[in-house]
Symmetry: C2
């Protein structure tokens, strides 16, 4: 899996807005716009992705974007796709850190790692996380529900399968298990992000997460 940065930080893109472009043509405006928009989303969520500001930061007139995107929604969809990729990377990164060893135990830990990564990403990148789920239709088949093989959803499914294989998840409880896990971490993140649990101290929140992961394990096993 190539890191998003390969896509975004294209070498043809000058260090946006620091120096004016030398040439009339930008070189890779589309990618530069998506990058600027992503930064805005990180800072202020989907509503922060303002076309004119994106153009300003990219050092380009405010309607140049219309050469590359039909409208603001299409750009936002692109940002959502980037967000989804980063979420997946975060999950894979955490998975990679799970020590091997007893296979069943490792599978168990991997399921927890996926859940923690999800919550961690949501709390660490709230703007991007919100943008991913802001209802903008996915730009290019990035719909996690429709891409079973990879993407966050597919990754979760794989880890669940592992856990069935190693006896951690009962086969009869496997159907629908994605939704169970996903809903739990998604709701946990939402409640602590903007919801009524936003004021809960981090330590207490982390403890609550571990308890929740315990219950999920027990509910599936």
């Amino acid at each position: 899996m190539s890191p998003v940065s390969t896509l975004i930080y294209d070498e043809r893109v000058p260090p946006a807005s620091t120096t004016p472009r030398a040439t009339y043509h930008h070189g890779n405006l589309r990618a530069a716009l998506v990058e600027a928009a992503t930064e805005l989303a990180r800072a202020s969520g989907p509503d922060g992705v303002v076309l004119r500001e994106v153009a300003r930061r990219t050092g380009v007139s405010h309607n140049a974007a219309y050469r590359h995107f039909a409208d603001r929604d299409e750009l936002l969809g692109e940002v959502a796709a980037v967000g989804g990729q980063r979420l997946e990377e975060a999950m894979r990164a955490r998975l990679a850190r799970v020590r091997a060893g007893d296979a069943a135990e490792a599978a168990r830990r991997r399921l927890r790692a996926v859940g923690r990564a999800y919550v961690e990403f949501a709390l660490g990148e709230p703007g991007l996380f919100e943008t991913v789920f802001s209802g903008a239709p996915p730009a290019d088949g990035q719909d996690p529900y429709r891409s079973p093989a990879d993407g966050p959803y597919g990754l979760l499914g794989q880890v669940l399968d592992e856990n069935v294989a190693h006896g951690n998840v009962r086969p009869d409880r496997r159907p629908g298990a994605e939704v169970v896990c996903w809903a739990a971490v998604h709701g946990f993140a939402g409640l602590h992000l903007r919801g009524p649990l936003a004021a809960v101290p981090a330590k207490e929140r982390d403890r609550a997460l571990e308890l929740m992961l315990d219950r999920i394990e027990q509910g599936l096993g």
Copy 2:
């Protein structure tokens, strides 16, 4: 528990915007504004609560609202409070429909009823549901996390306690159980409301919900 309608549809409030007010003074403008704002939230979510539109619908000049609310946020907070009340009502209504009988079985059913009511409310009143969780600070101690005795959160806690008492929930799994249940239904709702599972057919969605409630029960018991 008095229904919200008592608060909102005050008899002193004329049938807003159909006929012009007879008197210069409105009579109960505050309540009328909250009502109009609630309708806008129902229709279009928190962003739909536009001060000038609220005033228009109430048949009053667009800045009359400033006699009753410091700013738009305060009005929005009021709407969120109404939403929280309606959510609680929805839960209580579903609880009331659970047949008595075997006490342990009834408690089990009551826990499921609470969860179903939550999801049902979220999917049935998406705009209001979103407004409740839109991050506007609760208007008057309506913060569900801070009101353990009643409110949706308190209600859930009571039902969980019942289930401990009847042996459906293991006492050592009681701590943090509110968050587990809440996160699950909250996330389930979010994923199916605006999230990537929005396109899932209702029938399949309902089946997934039942499966999730099964897993929660098994995780706690």
